[in-house]
Symmetry: C2
Subunit: 271 residues, 2 copies
């Protein structure tokens, strides 16, 4: 699941419907997710608490994947575990005119989680080496330079206490067809559909290749990439939660109070 730094994953060889580790059935997956969520929530509270005493650490979950791969659904699921007040969610769409007037990492830097928070990006700076590459939104030379820029940016984040977890939600082309057809079948879902989705889909091999390149060039020790099979929603949800166990490694501590407990108790009881 973890892309070894410096290697190029062969996405075609990875089964998007697979369950390579952990729970093997939906029932097992839901149970495991439930248990995981309770544990992670405790760690999130500790992380937040520690930040009030000056701990700068935080987590940034970056979600990437083709249309319908479940980025939004993952956000909804993950946030369900946590206290949303300690989460900073941001969905990146096509850049605005103002954003285009700045370097591509400008809008990313503005959306980063604060100390103690869990940041969740639905799409990210990686669009600037994905759609930008496939659709030639920038000269090839400019796009090529961005991998290094991203690596330096993410390294600076790590040095500032940000644990970056990058997830590629790996959906199969057939599964995408099913999900798009479902949207077409339901008029209440038509707003989620646009004809451009079909044109993007036609560029599937180009996108897979752009992902492989991004995963290779930006899979680093400080900010590794993970490939999560995403055809089964229950598995996807469990696997992303599993990656957030990085929170446990941080092992944030509740800070002690800077007051006299007994004296405060007396004052409270008095008035």
């Amino acid at each position: 699941m973890r892309v070894r730094p410096g290697t190029r994953p062969d996405l075609a060889a990875l089964d998007p419907a697979g369950v390579p580790a952990g729970p093997r059935t939906k029932a097992e997956g839901l149970a495991a997710s439930g248990e995981l969520g309770v544990r992670l929530a405790e760690y999130q509270e500790r992380l937040y608490a520690a930040s009030t005493a000056g701990d700068r650490r935080r987590v940034l979950l970056v979600l990437q994947g083709m249309d319908t791969s479940g980025k939004g659904g993952t956000v909804k699921h993950v946030i369900g575990w946590f206290n949303p007040s300690g989460c900073r969610i941001r969905a990146f769409k096509a850049p605005t005119a103002e954003e285009r007037g700045h370097p591509f990492l400008w809008r990313i830097a503005k959306a980063l989680p604060q100390p103690g928070e869990i940041g969740i990006f639905d799409r990210s700076h990686y669009e600037d080496v994905l759609i930008a590459r496939v659709r030639e939104l920038a000269p090839r030379k400019v796009v090529s330079r961005r991998y290094g820029q991203i690596n330096r940016f993410e390294r600076a984040l790590a040095e500032d206490g940000v644990t970056v977890v990058k997830v590629f939600l790996h959906i199969g082309r057939d599964e995408q067809r099913e999900r798009l057809l479902e949207r077409l079948d339901n008029p209440d879902k038509h707003w989620k559909f646009n004809a451009g989705d079909i044109e993007e889909r036609a560029l599937w091999p180009e996108y897979q290749r752009a992902y492989e390149l991004a995963l290779e060039r930006c899979g680093t020790d400080t900010a590794p990439w993970y490939v999560v099979p995403a055809d089964r929603k229950w598995y996807r949800n469990w696997a992303v939660g599993k990656l957030l166990e990085h929170l446990e490694e941080l092992d944030p501590k509740y800070p002690p109070g800077d007051f006299d407990v007994e004296e405060c108790r007396k004052r409270l009881i008095a008035g």
Copy 2:
């Protein structure tokens, strides 16, 4: 529960442990909240969908209340109903140096929900007529001028499609004592406590008076204030949800697609 525009509520006369309408027991309250949440989630999706077709409408929930009145808990509960990607949560703390360099509504304007979103403020611009009044953080004349500034600001929001729902979580002084003592009893909660909380509590009557003034002067037809009894968490959660039924009045519609469904279906099946 709704403060009639132009009248000053007598907070001392309103029972913070009361259940003035709706469910009368915890079991009834939890059931009613569950049912409410399912309905509201549907409306949130519609609101968001409508925004993709140019509908500028959105909702802003403003939560105010004394320490431990449950602002954070309400955020967590309310967000549990919704798709968090369509919510914009913001907790306002003491203003930063940069924020103090701007008019007091500057940081508020930057945190507003976008079309289709539900914004949730944990504290708000009302702090500038509450703690600012009680602690004399600004000259009395400046604070007095703010009520009118707030009303004009909120009217402009309404004109721009924002439904503003302002909630005062009304907790009793004894209940606050209990909640603060609980924090003292549990070392894992000490980070939530500081000795300043006791000093604020000593100013209880001054704060209640500042709230009464704010509710009177800024309770308008376009942006009314609501008082929610907050000693019972289950009742508080249900009541805030009930106020979000404003979403139903907006009655947002799923926009139709701008594509040929049959043609898209054929193209999808083909490739």
